[in-house]
Assembly symmetry: C2
Homo-oligomer: 360 residues x 2
Amino acid sequence: MSWQNNLRSVSPYIAGEQPELTDMIKLNTNENPYPPTSVAKLFIERFKTKTLRLYPSTDAKSLRKKLAEYHHLEVEQVFIGNGSDEVLSLSFLTFFNSQSPLLMPDITYSFYPIYCELYRIPFQKVPVDDDFKVSIKDYYIENGGIVIANPNAPTALALNLKDIEEILKKNQNSIVLIDEAYIDFGGETCLPLLKKYDNLVVVQTFSKSRSLAGIRLGVAYGSAEAISHLYDVKNSFNSYPIDSLAQIIGEASLMDEHYFQKNIQKIIKTREVFKESLVNLGFEVTDSKANFVFVHHPKVRAEELFKALYEAKIIVRHWNQPRIDDWLRITIGTNKEMNKVIEFLKGYLKKNEEIDEWKK
Amino acid sequence: MSWQNNLRSVSPYIAGEQPELTDMIKLNTNENPYPPTSVAKLFIERFKTKTLRLYPSTDAKSLRKKLAEYHHLEVEQVFIGNGSDEVLSLSFLTFFNSQSPLLMPDITYSFYPIYCELYRIPFQKVPVDDDFKVSIKDYYIENGGIVIANPNAPTALALNLKDIEEILKKNQNSIVLIDEAYIDFGGETCLPLLKKYDNLVVVQTFSKSRSLAGIRLGVAYGSAEAISHLYDVKNSFNSYPIDSLAQIIGEASLMDEHYFQKNIQKIIKTREVFKESLVNLGFEVTDSKANFVFVHHPKVRAEELFKALYEAKIIVRHWNQPRIDDWLRITIGTNKEMNKVIEFLKGYLKKNEEIDEWKK
């Protein structure tokens, strides 16, 4: 016997690298290339540091109220957590407490099975089709819950509202958790379905479309009943997960709708131009509704391309994982950054072709 | 069957009230009455808001390094979390994964049994003696871990280093978690014992002595092995629990040792004067080594006094709980605040005495 016998054994999630080199083009963690609204800067400047001696509001009360107004929901339908990873984690712990397996796509956010391992939640991976599409009828089987990222990551593909509703209809005895981390980049939010389904929980984040990955704000929306259970678990975990500064910066973000929309449109436009350039270079690119693209080239191994990009100081994401090991996920950065990526790829593919020619 | 069947049922912790009335004397959550160091203000002013688009360091790398230097430990012995409540929560999940019960005093931080319920950890409450003292020999029994707050809350009593070492010696097959949230106000930290015991985990916080309850920084210190397991669980829960601003504000706090020490000494001095005044009014007061006192008056029911104080806009803490329901916990505020409390108590006790006289 030793204290090591009492340890919880887990295989943690490995987040995308945060390199310290400043001359890197960082397209590996789906961060927004543009800064947050200037209102955030103003709020930080005006912040009274002396108030930091006090605990923050346990439920980020003021921000919670503003989010409810923003989405035309009741305050009781809104839960705020320390980034959407915490919101997801606490949601898994709260809602998926069943002997039946939690269903999730086999290709999806790789944190989901890790939460399951941590909390010992049985789960079953449901294969997406050969085009990485989620086929809704596969979710009409016995389960203890369902989690689907929409748009999905890393595939970037979105389900439409009708499909989500079908899944909800067929699973009224389970919580259906829709992870909308990337919804603002072209997907269709299922928040309107909250009016009809009390088993729906929708998770969103301030990290991507609101350029606020640095302050850790994630949100869950659901029925007042579901959200109250989520708060009970949160209040059994940590009374004050959101610090005072994060709460006011979140509010600042909600006050500048014009900037928010402009920022999103800029990224969508860059994505579409970048996609076209990739297709012209022979890449296969999924129909992205997110701030990243998922790409594959028939003539180049993804892992090799990943390494070549890394050497050229362009960091993207690659998974050594069945079905997607020949694909790369590339975050949409600024136009300038994406042009540099295209320039690099042009050169790389040309060189590759010359080598192929020479080998013949 | 319904989705409600799959819920995790818990009874959450109820944090001390954060009233919105500004004319309250708030002595209910052990906050520091003085602001954090002015270096924090400077760092916030200089903060580059545009960097918030990026994720923070997953392990608050720079702050972690500085904390290690501050305490003469290795970086690998330091864990940083979102307030000490999160650190405790993740520690319970990581270290107390046993069929044998976790031992804790029966009078202690009321969050401990709530973590146990959340994670289904068996636990056993070990009674403190009639003077609320932890008697170390009670911890020489089979267990899956031990958690002791030192100084304890709400009793404010501290164990000495020798006692802690005895507990460690007798329990080398369990993690012994010492919660030092209030250690800087007169207790003796057991950090030096880390050199000898790899089963020791010490938890501290920036919320109390560093006046930074608003930014949520808690720390665990332990053997590199124990801390690496804690990080594995943290990385299975949330990749980025500490936001960018909290990380730099934490660093600011460590840079102003002079202010930190001065602040603590001021609070200790106020506490001693306040204690003396209370004793003069007939109160029983424990030997506090914390930034609060635990008090009882032989002639007044604590609950009545709590209500009378509340009506006078002075908020303290009372628990309707066996053994301590006739006691109050009062945070040490400024001299001015504590003088007001004493003035109120004088008047209240006098009136009470008059009523008693009249009843005879």
